[in-house]
């Protein structure tokens, strides 16, 4: 059997479509140049010294106590944060799916799931310091403890857990909803107690999903830069060590080798999660719930669980509220009244607040539509079309998910500071706004692509085929059929990309040049210096922007959304 002719014809048909071919070529170039190449150059640079291939650089960094400690630190934090986030996420998901809640508690849950989306990365660290630090409102003024230290291991663990558990909560909620209630009803019917049903039916079904949630959080935790930076104190993780290696020790080769180590850890976790656990989760939870679940009304279960979750939710919300409120205190940690707007005045008059605002805003505003469009195009190609390099495009855009921002940042420094492969080619983009925009795009691409793919999979393939059959070419099909049908997803992708870009820090902080003032970099700088009031004021502005963007999006989808209307009828 020879499939040559069919493949050749498919290729010919593809070539007859210049828009498609150009798009594919451009995409491959973009992905190779800005995702694969920076990672490749890290490998090359850390193995290739003056005398050819060498392990010297690795020997050197593994002899640095700071580096080896950082590895253990990172793993210790990631492990505990992964477990805690998964457990708290499971509790929230279980209560939401299984227990009858009143509307107030339901509202709290919704807010908790929304918060990490709209908040900048430092917020929880700042409020942690504000509430529990040496001059913390709770520690000093309520409990009278004067020497409490939040900096270090526990600080990072608590802050990261609070940051990441909502992600686990959302993931596990989706899985729990997919468990067919009749499985559990059958167990109950045969005499199992509610606890027994959970341990013998629900939990085993959920186990791969829990593993999945754990690894996702683990990856997020070890890639996190902002929180360890602010609340880590002298407790350094890999991400911060790499940053310091570049900005403090000016050791770019060493940083590159460290970045390779960090990348290897996340890639390994990512591979396990993607190819082993995700498949397993799908295998155990294929069934769609055939009908509604009987919610738990039993007061002895309902009341303690609801109270526990509500308290936790309120605590998280309070943590987030702390920052905006804190930015109005006259002197942080000493004097709380009368509230004042002087910090906002200061950042705009003395600390270039307006420039920081416009720079962050404009760069993100340019990056967002590019990201959204790019991820929709990738999703369209991956879901709806078949061609040879499709696997490559999908794999590389997903790979970006496993690459910590710090690693990417180091890769860009090594890869573009002296041009591509140190030849001077494209050197011009280094230090410009363009490279920042590219980093924004690359950092948000995986999330956008993932949601685009799941949106497109909902759409019957034959709808696009029918347009194609009627005489439309690929561009026409994409513009008149695909895009209008996933308008909502496109819009939310646009806002997510914007929010992610404007709150980004890890890669950006390594690449930003003095001509650009970015809000997140400012927050980091002021928090480092201990000027928490200014940091809070900047963070508040950022929260207002991101929250405004999300609000705008919801309003827009409500009034102009297509998918919602269509879903109602089907």
């Amino acid at each position: 059997m020879a499939r040559g002719q069919g493949a050749a014809l498919d290729r010919k048909k593809l070539m007859a479509d210049p828009v498609m071919v150009t798009t594919i070529v451009l995409l491959i170039t973009f992905l190779t140049l800005f995702i694969l190449y920076p990672l490749a150059i890290l490998l090359v640079d850390s193995f290739y010294g003056e005398q050819g291939v060498t392990l010297d650089i690795f020997k050197r960094i593994f002899n640095m106590p700071t580096f080896t400690t950082a590895i253990t630190n990172t793993l210790k934090v990631g492990f505990l944060v992964g477990i805690l986030s998964t457990l708290i996420g499971l509790l929230f998901a279980y209560v939401e799916v299984y227990v009858r809640m009143n509307r107030f508690v339901g509202g709290l849950f919704k807010v908790v799931s929304m918060l990490p989306v709209v908040s900048p990365p430092f917020v929880l660290s700042l409020s942690m310091i504000m509430l529990f630090g040496k001059a913390g409102i709770i520690t000093r003024f309520i409990l009278g403890i004067y020497d409490n230290s939040v900096y270090g291991y526990w600080g990072i663990v608590i802050v990261q857990t609070l940051t990441f558990f909502p992600v686990c909560y959302m993931m596990l909620k989706g899985l729990l909803k997919n468990i067919d209630p009749s499985l559990e009803e059958a167990a109950r019917d045969m005499g199992a107690s509610r606890m027994k049903v959970f341990t013998s039916v629900t939990f085993p079904l959920l186990l791969p999903g829990l593993g999945n949630a754990f690894l996702v959080t683990f990856i997020e935790s070890i890639a996190d830069f902002a929180n360890p930076m602010i609340i880590g104190g002298s407790y350094d993780t890999l991400a911060t060590t790499i940053y310091l290696q570049i900005t403090g020790a000016y050791d770019k080769a060493g940083a590159a080798a460290m970045a390779v180590v960090l990348l290897c850890i996340t890639l390994l976790m990512f591979a396990v999660q993607k190819y082993y656990l995700e498949a397993k989760t799908a295998a155990t939870l294929t069934g769609k719930a055939s009908r509604g679940r009987m919610l738990i009304e039993d007061r002895s279960v309902k009341i303690p669980l609801t109270i526990l979750c509500s308290l936790a939710a309120c605590f998280v919300i309070m943590m987030y509220l702390c920052v905006p409120i804190g930015s109005f205190f006259p002197t942080w940690g000493y004097k709380f009244f009368p509230l004042t707007g002087k910090w906002f005045g200061l950042i705009f008059t003395r600390y270039h607040g307006l420039q920081a605002f416009t720079d962050s805003f404009m760069l993100s505003l340019i990056a967002a539509p590019i990201t959204a469009l790019l991820s929709m195009i990738i999703s369209y190609l991956v879901v709806k079309r078949k061609f040879r390099s499709k696997g490559f495009i999908e794999a590389v855009s997903m790979l970006a998910m496993a690459v910590p921002g710090t690693v990417l940042g180091v890769g860009y420094i090594r890869g573009f500071a002296s041009g591509v492969f140190h030849t001077g080619f494209l050197q011009g983009i280094y230090g410009t706004g363009l490279i920042l925009i590219i980093v924004f795009v690359v950092r948000s691409l995986p999330t956008g692509t993932r949601s685009g793919i799941s949106a497109l999979q909902q759409i019957d393939k034959s709808i696009e085929e029918s347009a194609y059959d009627m005489g439309a070419d690929s561009l026409k099909v994409f513009m008149t059929v695909t895009l209008p049908l996933i308008k909502d997803s496109f819009l939310s992708g646009l806002v997510t990309a914007f929010v992610r870009s404007i709150t980004a820090i890890s890669a950006i902080i390594l690449l930003v040049t003095p001509q650009f003032l970015l809000i997140t970099v400012q927050i980091n700088e002021f928090a480092e210096k201990g000027s928490y009031s200014l940091a809070c004021a900047f963070a508040t502005i950022l929260i207002i922007i991101t929250y405004g963007a999300v609000l705008l999006m919801n309003l827009f989808i409500k009034h102009f959304g297509t998918s919602r209307k269509l879903k109602e009828d089907n």
């Binding site: 059997m1 020879a2 499939r3 040559g4 002719q5 069919g6 493949a7 050749a8 014809l9 498919d10 010919k12 048909k13 007859a16 479509d17 019957d460 034959s462 709808i463 085929e465 029918s466 347009a467 194609y468 059959d469 009627m470 005489g471 439309a472 070419d473 026409k476 008149t480 059929v481 209008p484 049908l485 297509t562 269509l566 009828d569 089907n570």
Partner: protein, 358 residues
């Protein structure tokens, strides 16, 4: 439509797929050659997985054949993309564009062809009239019933005046009654327009009602091609006989042949039937007997025993054993006929020309 009608020709077409479980390649369609006359209505009929939809999608251009060449009229079209082929397809799921109303759905193909606005309006209205949807042009497609959506899909395909109309199981999402009325409708419209139509279905009654010619496919190859009558009365294999209508298979050994009559020994009984062509003495043949061409009697024919007798309204449903062979038969209009009960012994009778010898 003033356009010259075009036929479709497939020459030694094969399509190879990979089995997702075993990773082995197999022929979804194997060395298939077909000629579809201009203006005729042809059905590709077969069980699921027989390659009928793959064949249709290769004609539309969504799949590329691994061997062979497809012609539209006299033009080879292998290298043309679906949007460049002069074919239009009606999809199983209708595949209407959900963000457009009825008018815009039908007008879509014309807009792509840069037809003038006034002409678009005129042609869309005319075609909507043909499919009896006048007055519905402002509706969104999700406000339409399944049958109406089907008509929009048909109108959208017809309005661009393609050379060939392709149908991919278009009625399988409709309920039974609507299916019957829609197929009459499709046949009426095809006759009115005089277009070449290729229709994929697994429903044999649909194929019978619609087609000038039926192509029965099995395991990627054409099992038989012919008019509905040819296929029903002269199936060339047990598969075809069984797939089209109900069939009983009686094994018989030829004991003698004179003129157009042949004598068989079936389950130890001797029986004379009409035969075509030369048969081989002493060889075992399979005789195809349709359930409606036989009846039960007190004497004559093959002795049998009733194992099932069931009243179905317009007919009585029987199953009888002739020796070790199970035979199903239906006796229509049972009201004033003698009803045989389970366990009764009687005889199975049919006309000499009622069987087809394989």
């Amino acid at each position: 439509m003033e356009k010259t009608k075009k036929g479709v020709r497939l020459e030694h077409i094969s399509k190879i797929y990979q089995d997702p479980k075993t990773g082995k390649d197999f022929y979804a369609v194997h060395d298939t050659s077909l000629t579809i006359e201009p203006g005729s209505f042809v059905t590709l009929l077969g069980p699921s997985g027989c390659g009928k939809t793959t064949t249709l999608r290769m004609i539309a251009g969504f799949e590329s054949p691994d061997e062979g060449e497809i012609y539209l009229g006299d033009e080879p079209i292998n290298e043309l993309t679906p949007n460049k082929r002069d074919t239009a397809m009606v999809f199983q799921s209708y595949a209407l564009l959900p963000h457009y109303n009825v008018f815009d759905n039908v007008a879509y193909g014309l807009k792509l062809r840069k037809v003038h606005k006034d002409e678009i309006k005129e042609r869309v209205m005319k075609i909507l009239d043909l499919v009896e949807l006048s007055g519905m042009e402002g509706r969104m497609t999700n406000q339409l019933s399944g049958g109406q959506q089907q008509r929009v899909a048909l109108a959208r395909a017809l309005v661009i005046e393609p050379s060939v109309l392709l149908f991919d199981e278009p009625l399988s999402n409709l309920d039974a009654k609507l299916r019957v009325s829609m197929r009459t409708e499709i046949r009426r419209i095809q006759q009115e327009v005089g277009i070449t139509a290729i229709y994929v279905t697994h429903d044999q009654s649909e194929a019978m009602a619609l087609s000038d010619n039926i192509i029965i496919m099995n395991k990627g190859v054409v099992a038989q091609m012919g008019t509905p009558q040819e296929i029903y009365y002269h199936p060339n294999s047990e598969f075809v006989a069984d797939f089209i209508g109900e069939a009983n298979f009686l094994k018989g050994t030829l004991t003698g042949q004179s003129g157009s009559m042949a004598a068989f020994s079936i389950e130890g009984n001797s029986l004379e039937v009409e035969s075509q062509g030369k048969l081989e003495q002493g060889k075992e043949y399979t005789l195809v007997l349709r359930p409606e061409s036989a009846h039960l009697a007190e004497e004559g024919g093959l002795p049998c025993k009733v194992t099932l007798s069931c009243f179905m309204g317009s007919y009585q449903n029987y199953q009888v054993m002739v020796g070790n062979t199970l035979v199903k038969l239906t006796e229509s209009n049972p009201k004033n006929k003698h009803i045989y009960k389970v366990g009764e012994s009687c005889t199975l009778k049919f006309e000499p020309d009622a069987v087809h010898i394989l």
